[in-house]
């Protein structure tokens, strides 16, 4: 029994990384007042490009780690470009953000799938990246397996949580991001360029969503398919609300969701007779239930979320 639980918990950290990175990116978008429902599409593009580079370099065989790194970098750049495009649509042209996001999601998922069939074809796997045992710590029974025996990107993603907190709450840029997402008129009156700050946040958010996608294809699944992302981009958006736009709470949400997901896979693999459709539903039901019961705290939320800013239109 202990082995099963250890197994379940040790899957939790690596499987939560994509959600964590994507929702931290979405957090920066939303803190700046832009609601990017296109996260799913950006992740799909990131996953495709991230996988394509090591695949082409190694013709499906082993490759140098540098090609994996190049895959991540390309995914981040592509994600940033998507963030920029989303900025042009929603910040400069002030298109409704929800609709633009749905468009971006469809475009990203569709394009990634089409390009995948053109360049790769059928299911092809890549070697991916190895787990790294942290000396000494990984030897600790149970704890070592759960926390200290993962791939290097997973460690970096978790190190990024306090970094994101620092950026948001302790830097001038973070202050600007929070201001333009809550009271853009006030920020404007203090000489802050609202559009520019929103663009910057969208680029950062897009890059993180691209990385999240690349993590899924390079480190987690070690392959790409049309259904690889399977709603994780939308879950990431929900986790931002779940975590009240705060990096630590978002991390908690990502872990809780992943725990529910690994729990259901374990239940299935153990052959317990339980309708698997219901088990698969569990994590999603959990998100809906928790979202319905979390309080809407007006004092922390970015109240200008979803509203385009126009200086010369008086409200």
């Amino acid at each position: 029994m202990l082995a099963v639980i250890t197994n379940m918990l040790s899957m939790c950290i690596p499987f939560s990384v994509a959600l964590l990175l994507a929702s931290l990116g979405e957090m920066f978008n939303q803190r700046a007042g832009v609601f990017n429902l296109g996260c799913e599409g950006v992740m799909a593009m990131g996953a495709f490009v991230g996988m394509l580079i090591p695949f082409l370099a190694g013709h499906g065989g082993a490759v140098s780690e540098w090609y994996n790194l190049l895959g991540f970098a390309a995914a981040a750049v592509l994600g940033a470009v998507f963030g920029l495009i989303f900025g042009v649509i929603t910040v400069t042209f002030r298109a409704p953000q929800g609709i633009a996001g749905i468009g971006l999601q469809m475009f990203g998922v569709g394009t990634a799938g089409t390009l995948f069939r053109h360049f790769v074809g059928g299911t092809q796997s890549i070697p991916g990246i190895p787990d790294v045992d942290i000396p000494l710590l990984a030897k600790i029974p149970v704890i070592g397996d759960i926390f200290f025996s993962h791939n290097v990107v997973a460690y970096l993603a978790y190190i990024f949580v306090p970094v994101a907190w620092y950026i948001l709450f302790k830097t001038y840029w973070g202050l600007k991001v929070r201001a333009v997402g809550t009271n853009p008129r006030a920020a404007d009156s203090m000489g802050i360029n609202v559009s520019r700050t929103r663009y910057e946040a969208l680029v950062v958010g897009g890059a993180l969503a691209g990385l999240a996608g690349a993590y899924l294809s390079i480190a987690q699944a070690k392959m790409f398919s049309d259904t690889l992302i399977s709603g994780r981009g939308f879950i990431a958006v929900a986790l931002v609300y779940f975590g009240h736009w705060h990096p630590l709470q978002i991390m908690g949400g990502a872990l809780l969701f992943t725990l529910a997901q690994t729990f259901q896979t374990i239940v299935q693999s153990m052959g317990i007779s339980f309708p698997y459709e219901l088990a698969v539903m569990l994590p999603y039901v959990l998100v809906i239930v928790v979202l319905s019961f979390t309080s809407r705290n007006q004092t922390t939320s970015p109240t200008a979320l979803g509203k385009p800013f126009n200086r010369e239109i008086r409200t």
């Binding site: 001038y172 973070g174 202050l175 929070r178 009271n183 000489g191 802050i192 004092t299």
Partner: protein, 515 residues
């Protein structure tokens, strides 16, 4: 660059001129060839009715809007502000009518936001200690106490204004622009502010927008009056009386009507006893509040906003849950009834936020007139509405209440504040209410509109209807009320007869001092 340098290198502003400023918005000429002139240490009062173009002019001065024509000169040199940051650099600072603060950040963070790049800092890092030091310097120099660690949402309106002033001064303002600075303050706070601004004129020049002529008289050296985007009068304040300035502002003599105390008072029609209600923040907003209003009388509820006025109005109208206590309306219990039931029992309501609670802004004027009665037989049968009936009623009301609008199909949200308030008043009066709750009915309105609304309220009173008038304007309360209740921290502090009430006495009660 160390911060002290960047704050002191700016030249003093010895003169500021705006020449021939013209600005058009779609369909409106907001500024029409306006020129103003302010010298060193001077205070210019900019007065005028709503929509006269005062705020637009100041937004042009701050670089928030670009003028279509005209120029700005500082110390005789023409300047061009592409945005507020250019105006700050030149030493201008503005305290806006709606405060420009971010509610989910602290006072220090808000000020750091404006100081921005002028702060000494490690790359990217935010040195809040330096900001705090600067706040303390400014606080001491001008006698403006603020708590640097408080979140903005925790502060009262008066405190937020102090934060705004500190912020503007921290940004290095040598020239202050204040847009209706006293509109949300208690009489004591107003006196303090005026004394403070007087002291500041040793170092600064000020432009100050106001409706309140006593303040204009008390503070300004020069006065400029705008009407419909044009300068109609400029002169030295001391040479003219308040009445003369008021007459020039509206174009005709204004005498606000007063309650003469005539007529019969009837029975108690609205009776609140021991009502306790929670605020949005889940703390008690009303604390065992007890208050009676009779038919044919106006009870004025005086108090600093945020002492439970909003919650009181909402609870009477069924918009907020009563925790304990009872509200009897013509003998029937209405606590925790639905708004529909309360409306149908004859309650009229002029809500605090006219744009969000009083009307549906994108709806036309005629639709807003019938909002509460659209399902009644007078405007509809079964599922169909009677368009002709609605049109004729709307035409009649627009005429009777002098709503200035292009037509009854105009979107209500595009009207000025005064006209929106007339639409709401017309709807409520047309419904022939048995009682009226009026919350800040003239907030932000010009003298002409105030005169109209006051006389309508007095007419209602004459016809035997009880009115609960919630207001921060002591003059309004003293002019209209039969009795005055003072609310403080969710309880009625004292109920005075109008004859016993003076502004000073009310001010003391509003500040929470027990007599």
């Amino acid at each position: 660059m160390p911060c002290s340098d960047s704050f002191s290198i700016m030249d003093k502003i010895r003169s500021l001129r705006m020449e021939h400023i013209t600005k058009r918005f779609p369909g409106v000429l907001a500024s029409d060839d306006i020129s103003i002139d302010v010298g060193e240490g001077e205070v210019l009062a900019l007065v005028g009715e709503n929509g006269a173009g005062k705020t637009t002019l100041m937004n042009i001065l701050m670089g928030l809007y670009q003028p279509d024509e005209g120029r700005i000169l500082i110390n005789g040199e023409p300047v061009r502000f592409r945005g507020p940051e250019d105006a700050f650099r030149a030493g201008l600072g503005m305290v806006h009518q709606t405060y420009m603060l971010v509610p989910n950040m602290t006072v220090t963070e808000n000020i750091a936001l404006g100081l921005g790049r002028n702060l000494p800092k490690r790359p990217g890092h935010l040195d809040l200690k330096a900001v705090r030091k600067r706040i303390e310097e400014i606080s001491q120099r001008y006698g403006l106490a603020v708590n640097p660690d408080a979140y903005i949402w925790q502060l009262s309106v008066g405190e937020q204004q102090k934060v705004e002033l500190v912020k503007t001064l921290c940004l290095g303002a040598k020239f202050l622009i204040l847009d209706e600075p006293t509109s949300a303050l208690t009489p004591q706070e107003v006196d303090e502010l005026i004394a403070l601004l007087h002291r500041m004129t040793d170092e600064l020049s000020i432009i100050f927008i106001s409706h309140k002529l006593q303040e204009v008289k008390a503070l300004s050296n020069k006065v400029t009056i705008l009407r419909h985007g044009k300068v109609v009068f400029s002169g030295n304040t001391d040479d003219y009386s308040s009445q003369e300035i008021a007459a020039r502002m509206t174009g005709h003599e204004i005498v606000l009507p007063k309650n003469k105390g005539t007529g019969q008072k009837g029975d108690v029609v609205l009776s609140l006893s021991d009502v306790t209600v929670m605020s949005d923040r889940k703390i008690p907003a009303l604390n065992s509040l007890t208050l009676d209003v009779r038919a044919g009388e106006i009870v004025g509820l005086a108090g600093v906003s945020g002492n439970g006025q909003r919650e009181l109005a909402e609870v009477i109208n069924g918009l907020r849950k009563v925790e304990s206590g009872s509200i009897r309306f013509f003998g029937n219990e209405i606590a925790n009834k639905t708004p529909r039931e309360i409306i149908d029992s004859g309650m009229g309501y002029i809500p605090e936020e006219r744009n969000t609670e009083g009307i549906v802004p994108p709806f036309s004027i005629k639709e807003n007139f019938v909002l509460k009665d659209i399902s009644s037989p007078s405007f509809s049968s079964w599922v169909l509405v009677d368009g002709k009936k609605i049109d004729s009623t709307a035409e009649k009301l627009v005429k009777r209440f002098d709503v200035r609008c292009p037509g009854i199909d105009t979107a209500s949200g595009s009207l000025s504040g005064g006209n929106i308030q007339k639409v709401i008043l017309a709807r409520e009066i047309e419904r022939k209410p048995k009682f009226l709750v009026a919350v800040y009915p003239t907030r932000g309105l010009d003298m002409g509109a105030v005169e109209f609304i006051h006389s309508e309220l007095l007419k209602l009173r004459e016809s035997g209807i009880g009115i609960l008038l919630i207001s921060e304007e002591l003059d309004e309360i003293l002019d209209l009320s039969d009795r005055i209740a003072v609310i403080y921290k969710g309880s009625v502090q004292r109920v005075l007869d109008r004859s016993e009430a003076t502004p000073d006495r009310l001010g003391i009660l509003m500040a929470g001092v027990q007599e």
